[in-house]
């Protein structure tokens, strides 16, 4: 997670508070990755699974889910890179 606009206010804080801030960031990242996981499952399930004749995935559905997940992760990484560049640019413009 990149420098928030509040970071300036936090520079002067004692060690204990910096530690607490780090914990907060960690926990938000955990929450975020769990949410990402949930929404990835939901998306790939919704896009790939449409037959309910049996309890396990068909070969086709299995393949579709794997590609969907892989594609989404690659997409997500690319978006992350572009997003960081734009934030960088905005920060240096100020």
């Amino acid at each position: 997670m990149e420098k928030g606009m509040l970071s300036a206010d936090l520079e002067g804080l004692p060690e204990e508070d910096k530690h607490r801030m780090a914990t907060l960031i960690d926990q938000l990242q955990i929450r975020d990755s769990l949410r990402m996981y949930n929404s990835l499952v939901e998306r790939c399930f919704t896009d790939c699974v449409d037959t309910f004749q049996r309890k396990s995935l068909t070969k086709q559905e299995d393949t579709c889910v794997r590609r969907c997940a892989e594609k989404f992760l690659k997409h997500s990484m690319r978006v992350g890179m572009r997003f960081a560049e734009l934030n960088q640019g905005a920060a240096t413009q100020e």
């Binding site: 399930f45 309910f52 004749q53 309890k55």
Partner: protein, 85 residues
């Protein structure tokens, strides 16, 4: 304010409670997404009656099972090594 030598313990406890909270939130969200997704896939939306019919019921059972498989499959692909459901 807690005495300085207590601070780490308190923070560690905060971390444990925080982790437990995230874990529970994750399960609740998983359950909610599963519920809504399988309702969309299996249940007729004209609401001609308030009972689930046999076709809907067996679709729901299979849908939950397949959602579980997808959850595990994606978990493997992400290499988290944690039981995702």
């Amino acid at each position: 304010m807690a005495a300085p030598n207590n601070a780490p313990t308190v923070l560690d406890k905060e971390q444990i409670f925080g982790m437990a909270e995230k874990e529970m939130e994750y399960r609740v969200e998983l359950f909610n997404k599963l519920t809504h997704t399988c309702f969309n896939k299996c249940v007729e939306k004209k609401y001609k009656e308030s009972e689930l019919n046999m076709g809907e019921n067996s679709c729901i059972d299979r849908c939950v099972s397949k959602y579980w498989h997808v959850t595990n499959l994606v978990g493997q692909l992400l290499g988290t090594g944690r039981p995702p459901m």
